[in-house]
Symmetry: C2
């Protein structure tokens, strides 16, 4: 309904691709209304005559509208509009990760009841066709894990920091200059955007609710260029990953945070604004989908794919197949998601310490007492001015709660100036 | 119908996943018959009681059979069986690249007429969900190119040659020992298997027939370990690519051959038996799907996904949507595919020459006369015994026919012992 960046792309694609839509589906699509904030604004390219409106009722109350496309974003009022559209028996295509994360199961149940389609390929992964793959081609699999780079802004910033040894602030400013980051970048750099998307993908993959607020979320602003340097020495890249894993106890670990990824892993090679999603299933094994996770054209590709899927079935008395993600009976709480404290992971720890003998022994003592085994130690970048050095420790897999407890004790050591960073290592 | 490797995997998955199929689709699937060559053979795990038969009529004439699954391979008799199954109003799921390449459009038209599904996700890319993506999620795009690694045997051999400087013969023997290559490896190493798959993918992507016999196909047996060494010095990996590109004149270039791929491109990092497909569309941009291209579980994932797609719609009076690949009216010939002579590409050329002054000048003269610009020259590996050296030349983009013509002249030079290799460079 919106004619923002993506909405305009969809409107344009409906016009530009009119012939091929007819050829590919057997039907033509007629663009009736486009909801905008300001219908007087000059738009390039100009929308077709008479389609712009500032009144959502023009769309929701028009009995000739068969498909409502929503690319406005945000839960309110988009969520209410979509509910009303479904209630009125209209098919819905949405790119809205927040709505699908917050209200997905309810909207799906409503679509089911009304026997209409609710498709949302563009809500996670942009142009990467991961949503449809989870709902259809990979549906037979018991999905075991999703590991993904699903925020292009963050990945652009981390790529700049890795390639040019840039500070976080400089890399963010560069991303803003290029239009890859918003003026207020909070949603991207704090992992909130990725958590919404992981919530959508995890719910589809594991057939239960993965509420976004149950996802442990850490941003990237605490990373420094030295972390990239040390990680590289150890054979790792640093990426912000959105991860959901079914544990052996049946609970799901769901988390968004920076992670060390082995340099030879394909996820380590996802650069710039690109996204990638790795899915592991019992039959398909490990599948990786890589592509543009955002941007007008890529999102338009996903939205248009959904529109064509609906249009293709319009000739027959088709009833949409049940949405596989509806299997959430009794799982309406976040009890399926386990707390981060119970995670078992290897860790990268960076400390600023006094540059004197015996420091490592004190730190190692505390980690050992906490059942945390040290894998490697790098001590370097001595600063004669402050009399400090950097101590970088990697551990073997340990329990998150134990590591957090031990690090609190390490921080209280007189020889430790500060705990700069704790980054999980994904092997 | 077959209970070969994959057929057995499907039969097993239908049993193992019975609960989750019911939960995900609302229906249970009942395995009625499995066609085998020898019903007395001991099988592990044992198939359900009473399902094995050696008579295809048990399946084709059974009115209770709603879905026929074919994983036997080969055009005959599988093609005839599938035609009869569709004719009898049964849904068909097939993993058969050869049948889909040779008879795809005819079978699709028949499925359309009979209002049944014909799904074939496993026919190309194994567990990688590329077929469904082209038919559905990416359908709105005008697809411009497919570049892919879709033969795991070949990629395994090339990876061994690159990593261990193995000869082709040794790497093939290793692949055969590990079960990655057949006793008669011709279909894989000569690119025939990849051409069938490219024919299937290209037809879906470009909505016209890309007959496998119109695809220019070269094998990998002429590659030597030195080619990998020189390519690496130049910053390239060597991969066997299956490529289909829509040219500016509207014709499709379709070819399977070894190619130099820049080392930092994701396709260069596809190792071992893995497959990857890169699709470029006008909206989605460049998307890469990476995963297991063959093997029992991966293929079972694809076949099962198709089965579940059909089962999900069984409750309603659903009519399958038209298959988008049906748009082949009037394109029943291979006129949409242009000959390799008209390709414009950069090239890697390896010659064995007399180790004497003036050789390069003579070769360069011929290339220059043919409008072929040289980009780099490496002259090395002098062999004092034979008095020869290796001359490796890369060119700027040139016309294939010009390059072939010039190389024939180069081969006739007295100072040239042999033209060892001509490999296209994919930037």
């Amino acid at each position: 309904m919106g004619l923002g960046t993506v909405g305009g792309g969809v409107a344009l694609a409906l016009t530009d691709h009119a012939n091929s839509i007819q050829r590919k589906t057997g039907f033509s699509v007629n663009l009736r209304h486009v909801l905008v904030r300001d219908s007087e604004k000059t738009r390039d390219p100009a929308p077709p005559e008479g389609v712009l409106t500032t009144n959502p009722e023009d769309i929701l109350a028009d009995p000739h509208v068969q498909i409502v496309v929503e690319t406005m974003g945000g839960d309110h009022p988009a969520g209410e509009y979509l509910q009303r559209a479904l209630d009125a028996g209209k098919h819905v295509v949405t790119a809205n990760k927040e709505v699908m994360s917050r209200r997905g199961p309810d909207l799906m149940a409503l679509a089911q009841k009304k026997q209409v389609n609710l498709l949302f390929e563009a809500s996670a992964g942009g142009g990467i066709p991961i949503v449809g793959c989870l709902m259809s081609q990979l549906l037979a699999n018991d999905i075991r894990s999703i590991r993904s780079i699903i925020n292009g802004t963050t990945n652009y910033i981390l790529t700049q920091m890795a390639w040019h040894q840039a500070s976080f602030a400089d890399a963010l400013a560069e991303a803003q200059t290029r239009g890859y980051a918003e003026a207020d970048p909070t949603n991207d750099i704090e992992g909130i955007d990725a958590a919404y998307k992981l919530s959508v993908l995890g719910s589809l993959a594991f057939h239960r609710r993965i509420p976004h607020h149950a996802i442990h979320t850490e941003g990237i602003s605490q990373l420094g260029p030295e972390d990239f340097r040390y990680a590289s020495e150890l054979g790792y890249a640093i990426k912000s990953l959105a991860i959901a894993v079914v544990q052996s106890n049946g609970l799901v670990q769901a988390r968004v945070h920076p992670a060390l990824v082995p340099e030879n892993h394909l996820l380590a090679k996802v650069d710039g604004v690109y996204n990638a999603v790795e899915v592991t299933g019992d039959l398909c094994g490990q599948i990786i989908l890589h592509g543009q996770g955002a941007g007008r054209e890529a999102t338009t590709s996903a939205v248009m794919g959904d529109i064509l899927s609906i249009v293709r079935t319009m000739g027959s008395a088709n009833v949409p197949p049940p949405l596989p993600a509806l299997d959430v009976n009794g799982d309406d709480t976040d009890s399926a998601v386990c707390p981060i404290d119970e995670l078992s992971s290897a860790y990268y720890i960076r400390l600023t310490c006094a540059d004197q003998a015996g420091v490592l022994a004190q730190v190692a003592q505390i980690l050992g007492d906490g059942n945390i085994s040290i894998a490697t130690v790098i001590q370097k970048d001595t600063d004669p001015g402050s009399g400090t050095a950097q101590l970088v420790i990697t551990t073997y897999p340990a329990r998150e709660a134990d590591v957090q407890f031990a690090l609190a004790a390490v921080a209280r050591l007189g020889v430790v100036v500060g705990v700069n960073n704790l980054i999980r290592i994904e092997e």
